[in-house]
Symmetry: C2
Subunit: 543 residues, 2 copies
């Protein structure tokens, strides 16, 4: 027997409808790509998104078609986002920071029909044009006055393009499982893979994302997403902020410390979100300028682990609470935040910072488990670590065009390829990538923990740990070290430094000194290359 | 093209799973029907709910079957609630305050197979037993020691009943549109009608209900629902509290001021919810005892309009913020709360109280409109009033067994049968019931506004306003008055008192003095009877 409640599909454009009706005058403030700071409202964003939807439809874009955006965070990008999904098409955010060949690969794989891009990306797009056969036209997110000369196919200024329609348009009537958005994972190995969000998954994710211990936005919040909309579904802020009626401050293309500070200060931002790199730049700017964060209450740090010193500085020096968060493109993306529950509310000082190094707890709509290699669940004791797997309505069940094949286990959980512990209060901590963990005699050793410890030695510039085959233990850790200029540390000295700070059986079996450690384009250690480099390496303990 | 996200149906039992896993030790504290205050946790609630589900299944209860509860707010009732829905059956909360014949009508209409009841309702159930042929057995929510002697069919003590199973049970795998719960509307006319909630509607409603400007619960909240679980889906608190990991304090059968105060004070309740009647009792107790509300931050007042004086007293004397809320059984039930947005945050004193008399704003997942009788939308100007209609995924599309026929308009909106204004910021104010509004020359006059004004006259004990046929204006207002004992006000005196306080054309055309005004069982003015009483009444202005 079914319930007798209304059929009201979860469609993303209902979010901007809600914002326009109930928070219509709330502002969306952007640093434009052209330069000036411009202000609009949710009511206007919706009105113009309707024009985008109407114009795309008139241009022959059909439900399910992919429309790419290559743009910074601005009000126009937000209009494009809702306009694309609102005509039934799929917003496909491209990351301009990828190598041009990767961008071309991704746009071709997605078969993007239309490109909506900031004027600053015209040279990039012109160089890519011959490699983008599916792209029929380019809409440049600007007006006539700022329209650059370009050889791009059917290029038009956004303002002129939407100026030709009247906005008298009804959002597409869609099944809630229809695709709404798309974002590719960069991936350290293999080709990028596309994650295809549905209207349902985005709406559910935003509802969960606005719960008190996740983003918890309300109509008094002033939120600045420094994280770009092309990074992991924009951390869902394009949905959570209008759903809550929060004021949006969009930093546009300028991510340097002074520019970020200017927006935070001038618009009295209360909450902001981004990766550690931008906060390093902000903190450096504050340090050198002596400025204070008068209005900011909370900074959400994700994308990679938030360094303890950063948390300490934000909280103790600037009075800004840090919310350590974790997620994945495949998770829409919010997976956890390190909110303080009653069980740990008594912690202070270093103990509180210890806790805040964890990636935190799962909201409703995210189920977590940690398993051994055989898929057997392991205990939540804060010590035992295993493969982190997740399940929920806003988590991928497969990639676009079935790249990577089946990615779910028998119980429907997605393998994050992270290795983590979860403590008795549900706080999860990422300890490694699963392909990097060292498997010694059936027990796992975290390469990241060893690296973090080794770089604490005064003569070590950089450290990487990989597993090397061992006749008895399967694998044992090899520590690869780059010494600081002018330093010549020896093995015994480094090992002595590490001793007693980790379990005895975690101690590296050997240390190799190298001139440099290979890195990916985004600065991560390329362990595949490193393992290749040390193939056949014989540990002294192997005899 | 569909998205590629996981199939994770929105099932209510996932909420108690989440609470047990992520907030397992958070307490549920109840004043038991037997007397003592008892404590349990979400982990235990879930473990025992699994036993309820297992035992119901063993007893032959099948998905879709209705299982009635007749019980106060306690942890056991919460276990029963999740156990029933978790085996695929439908929790059907019966209101013990209805007339026995109404209870029998409702249980028969729903065809309840099992009755789970507090021991205090044994006499009522015994008297009703011959009229409840569908009920196969009664589970009394108590243990062996407190089990009363009873003639009820197959009666058993709950603790013994679940004691016979081991809890090794998997929740039913269900489609999210499956029925999960049922609640009948009392209705001032006609038979009670059943609202049938789905798993999906309850989960979505709870997600929306926990947004910051609705209940906004978190793991630090200590929530006491004084509103009974049998009143309009328990205002969804049985879902929102465990979803947020809030501590639950359950008042059991004692709703008097002293008992409510004891729970609020002893368990440091931060938020509570209920109808004005219970707050009158609490405020009277505080007044006479001189006690203070040390921990309470917020009281959510709904069910009927929150009197201005109550808001003022809570806020100004006790420092407790009042959230005026509105909803309906048919809306799961939350429809609006009067949260303060930035646009009105500058209001203070009387202006703030004016605002707080409004029922407030719609959350995401509730769409509102106001229309004239022809269904045409009228403006949101805070003055024009019309029929209030609502749409959303947790709003009824029809009643059980199609009672009342089609209840949606062409656009899928449900007619609340309330008449309301909505202002430019989205604040809605109920001005009347649509059947009570007086339609004078195409314009509407609020009977409630006239009544509220008339009772302000020092000689008037009670007032009711009904529309009486008029040859020129269709209808004109007749004010029906019960004078205070010993007082003999005359018409002119009362009319003079009202003059200038309302629009001239709102002034009643006549006043009739009566000894008493008819009331429903729940204390509301029975306007149908009153209209019957004044049928054929000829207004002096009709000549």
């Amino acid at each position: 027997m079914n319930g007798l409640m209304q059929d009201w599909p979860l469609l993303c454009h209902r979010i901007i409808d809600h914002a326009a009706i109930n928070h219509g005058n709330r502002k969306v403030i952007s640093r434009s790509v052209e330069g000036p700071i411009v202000e609009t409202t949710y009511a206007e964003i919706r009105a113009r998104a309707l024009k985008v939807a109407q114009r795309l439809t008139r241009d022959g874009v059909r439900p399910g078609d992919r429309v790419a955006t290559l743009a910074w965070n601005t009000g126009r990008h937000l209009e494009a986002w809702y306009g694309i999904l609102g005509c039934g098409a799929v917003y496909h955010t491209l990351n301009p920071r990828l190598y041009p060949e990767q961008i071309a690969y991704i746009a071709n794989h997605a078969e993007d029909r239309v490109m909506m891009a900031d004027i600053s990306f015209v040279p990039l797009l012109e160089s890519l044009a011959p490699k983008l056969p599916t792209v029929e036209r380019t809409i440049l997110l600007t007006d006539k006055a700022n329209m650059p000369k370009t050889s791009l196919k059917n290029a038009v200024a956004y303002e002129e393009w939407i100026g030709e329609v009247d906005g008298d348009f009804r959002w597409a009537g869609l099944d809630e499982n229809s695709a709404a958005g798309m974002c590719y994972t960069s991936g350290t190995t293999g080709n990028p893979k596309g994650v295809l969000y549905s209207h349902r998954s985005n709406v559910l994710h935003a509802l969960g994302g606005n719960s008190a211990e996740m983003l918890g936005l309300n109509s008094h919040s002033v939120m600045m997403p420094v994280v770009p909309m092309f990074h992991a579904n924009g951390w869902s802020i394009p949905f959570t902020a209008p759903m809550a009626g929060a004021t949006l401050v969009m930093p546009g293309p300028k991510m340097d410390g002074a520019s970020i500070f200017e927006m935070l200060d001038r618009y009295q931002v209360t909450a902001t979100a981004g990766v550690p790199t931008v906060w390093f730049m902000l903190l450096a700017y504050l340090e050198e300028s002596g400025k204070k964060l008068e209005h900011l209450e909370r900074v959400i740090v994700g994308g990679s682990a938030c360094p303890r010193a950063m948390t300490k500085t934000f909280q103790e020096k600037y009075g800004v609470e840090v919310s350590h968060a974790w997620g994945m493109t495949e998770m829409s993306p919010l997976g956890s935040t390190c909110a303080i529950t009653p069980e740990v509310a008594h912690l202070s000082g270093d103990e509180r910072l210890d806790l805040q190094e964890k990636q935190g707890r799962a909201p409703f709509l995210v189920e977590m488990k940690i398993t051994d290699d055989a898929g057997k669940e392991i205990p939540w004791d804060g010590k035992t670590f295993g493969r982190l797997k997740v399940r929920g309505p806003a988590i991928a069940r497969s990639y676009y065009k079935a790249e990577g094949g089946n990615v779910l286990d028998d119980e429907g959980y997605f393998d994050t390829n992270d290795v983590a512990t979860i403590d008795e209060h549900g706080y999860m901590r990422i300890t490694d990538r699963s392909k990097d963990v060292i498997k010694s005699g059936g027990e796992w050793i975290s390469s990241i923990d060893l690296e973090n410890l080794a770089v604490g030695h005064p003569s070590v510039a950089e450290a990487a740990v990989i597993g090397v085959p061992h006749p008895k233990w399967d694998e044992r850790p090899l520590l690869v070290v780059v010494a600081k200029p002018g330093q010549q540390p020896d093995k015994a000295e480094i090992l002595k430094f590490m001793e007693g700070k980790i379990a005895k059986w975690w101690m590296p079996d050997d240390i190799a000194f190298v001139k440099e450690i290979p890195h990916t384009a985004t600065g991560k250690i390329q362990k595949t290359t490193l393992r290749e480099q040390f193939r056949g390496y014989r540990l002294p303990t192997a005899d």
